[in-house]
């Protein structure tokens, strides 16, 4: 793996912010290990811009780890990651992140608006406090997810779906070009699911890229354009229509074959019940 070879995208599109770069993320031969046990093995994948991208795979397949590896939250045992054709450090301000909801203490003494304001912290820089402009931006983000009436509610008094929407609003307040979301649909009610889907579509229309860990195979083809199928190794990646096939699902999920065949069959028939 020579690092001297320039990436075609990097050389042809030196400017940032333009859609000239075909890849939002390039993951090159990334291996990640926890306690010396590999979780991701030699993953090599490119994610296109202005698409809604789902990462799917069974439990323990390394889906969250792949997000964290791209975000620099876990050390890479080998390989490298480029975002918009650049090292991560140079493009941090263009990235938004929605961690898994269960990773934080929802009894923390802050209200919904406080949490969304945290999305502005990256742009503020050290020592500076958020001002009125940040507060307005945060309120606007809350409005986009339909949570403005709950701005001053302590976060433990929100339902699971409302908490997820607050997390999404925080990412929107980051005003990024590329969003990483770790199971944004996990444990949410139907109204929240719909609200999130609408936000995702608006982001795509605005030319933003969203990479989300997704669990629900039924809804994956409906919500997303592009899919990354993962089971420690990369099984397949590409446009939903050509990649989300019974054969690929079978190699991704292995033993649990019958359910998957039924799912894939249902999808092929266009029987999207939701």
């Amino acid at each position: 793996m020579s690092t001297a070879t320039p990436q075609p995208s990097a050389s042809s599109a030196p400017k940032t912010g333009t859609p000239a770069s075909p890849s939002a993320v390039e993951v090159h031969d990334v291996t990640v290990a926890y306690h010396r046990k590999p979780v991701l093995w030699d993953v090599d994948v490119q994610l296109p811009t202005a698409k809604l991208i789902a990462i799917i795979g069974p439990n323990g397949a390394g889906k969250s780890t792949l997000l964290k590896a791209i975000l620099g939250l876990v050390p890479l045992a080998s390989g490298r990651v480029e975002v918009f054709g650049k090292p991560l450090k140079e493009v941090r301000s263009r990235i938004g992140y929605v961690p898994q909801r269960e990773t934080v203490d929802w009894d923390f003494p802050v209200d919904a608006l406080d949490v969304v304001l945290m999305g502005r912290y990256g742009k503020l820089g050290w020592l500076r406090r958020p001002g009125k402009a940040d507060r307005d931006a945060a309120m606007h983000s809350l409005e986009q997810v339909g949570m403005a009436p709950f701005a001053h509610r302590q976060i433990s008094q929100l339902s699971g779906g409302q908490q997820q929407r607050v997390f999404l609003a925080r990412a929107l307040a980051q005003d990024a070009d590329l969003y990483f979301m770790d199971e944004p649909f996990a444990g949410v009610d139907a109204a929240t699911e719909q609200a999130i889907v609408e936000v995702l579509r608006r982001l795509r229309t605005a030319g933003k890229t969203v990479v989300a860990v997704h669990h629900d195979l039924q809804t994956a083809p409906e919500y997303f354009d592009h899919v990354v199928m993962l089971n420690m190794r990369l099984i397949a990646a590409g446009p939903m229509e050509t990649t989300f096939t019974a054969k690929n699902l079978q190699s991704t999920y292995g033993g649990r074959l019958t359910i998957l065949e039924e799912t894939a069959e249902a999808i092929r028939r266009g029987g999207r019940e939701r």
Partner: protein, 336 residues
């Protein structure tokens, strides 16, 4: 009684010094301890403060006298050692984190006791004042001790004021902070270093064993009264300061058992008891999060339900009571 009067009127310069010292210490500990609690580092903080004892002993061995800066460096080095020990055990073995913390607390404290005994057996070792570092003896606090507490408290409060936003996000969502490119490890170290510094200046007054009470209890008690972090910090500071003042006052006025001498009590346990009393009061009486408020809410809800059921029995048209969380499934539900 006479002693109490002298104390309350602040006639005694020494008493003034001691009260000022422990009060200011309580404020600083309450504030920085709140962050440690929210970061779920309460027990790591305990390990760090216990590790201060071998730290100051090692410093005394090297320097040969009681020196604040040497003690500080010693305590910091051992505090970092203790937290590094905990994370090493946790990541490199299958020992769980709570067991690793218990190991660190007892191990470092045992080492500290052995080292302090060795120092006291040396000629002139008593002058080190290490015996009072275990349970604290505020009466032995000197003017310069109190001055150091003041400086440390000022530094702690300044850092918290400047890095309020950073510490808040670190405690709430470390991964998100890291995704912004923030040096979260450094921030964590800074938080533990501030805990360490407070411990070192608090040693003469509170002692290593109970230092954790002044760091943890004010924050935990304050949380009952508010849903806002800023307010929680203010209340924690106030409660910590009050615990320091009251505890010291008690230790100076209540006659000690055997000798009948005043100031015979170690201050650490009394400060801890006052703080614990604050906690119990907060837990019971806090308006929204308190146990009594919760009980009242439950009883009145049951009453409402009963009367509504009685109505329903006769009249189908009465509306059902509204659930407090109308929208969706319970929180924290596991996903397939």
């Amino acid at each position: 009684m006479d002693a109490l009067l002298r104390l309350l009127t602040l006639q005694d310069a020494n008493t003034r010094t001691v009260l000022l010292g422990t009060g200011v210490l309580g404020v600083a500990c309450g504030v920085i301890g709140s962050f440690a609690v929210l970061r779920r580092r309460a027990l790591v903080g305990d390990a760090v403060s216990h590790a201060a004892l071998p730290g100051v002993c090692a410093a005394y061995f090297i320097v040969g006298e009681r020196s604040f800066w040497a003690f500080l460096v010693g305590a910091l080095v051992f505090g970092v050692l203790a937290s590094a020990f905990i994370s090493f055990i946790w990541t490199a073995t299958r020992v769980k984190e709570d067991a690793a913390v218990a190991l660190a607390i007892s191990g470092f404290f045992g080492l500290g006791i052995v080292m302090s005994r060795m120092i006291q057996n040396q000629p002139g070792g008593n002058r080190a004042g290490l015996d009072s570092f275990i349970f604290g003896k505020a009466a032995s606090m000197t003017m310069s001790d109190a001055g150091l507490i003041g400086v440390v408290a000022a530094v702690v409060l300044l850092v918290v004021a400047l890095l309020y936003k950073e510490l808040k996000l670190l405690c709430f969502d470390r991964d998100f902070a890291a995704s912004l490119g923030w040096p979260t490890l450094l921030l964590d170290l800074l938080l533990m270093a501030l805990v360490c510094v407070c411990t070192v200046v608090g040693l003469p007054a509170v002692g290593v064993v109970l230092m954790v009470s002044l760091l943890v209890i004010p924050g935990v008690a304050a949380r009952f009264w508010t849903e806002r972090l800023e307010v929680m910090l203010l209340i924690a500071g106030a409660l910590g300061g009050a615990a320091g003042l009251l505890g010291t006052t008690l230790s100076a006025t209540v006659p000690a058992p055997e000798s009948g001498l005043t100031r015979g009590w170690p201050t650490g346990p009394l400060i801890t008891l006052v703080a614990a009393a604050f906690f119990v009061i907060s837990m019971l009486l806090a308006p929204r999060r308190g146990v009594l408020a919760d009980l009242i809410r439950r009883v009145s809800l049951r009453r409402r339900l009963q009367s509504q059921n009685a109505l329903l029995a006769g009249d189908d048209r009465s509306p059902l009571p509204e659930s407090p969380h109308p929208t969706d499934r319970p929180r924290g539900e596991a996903q397939p």
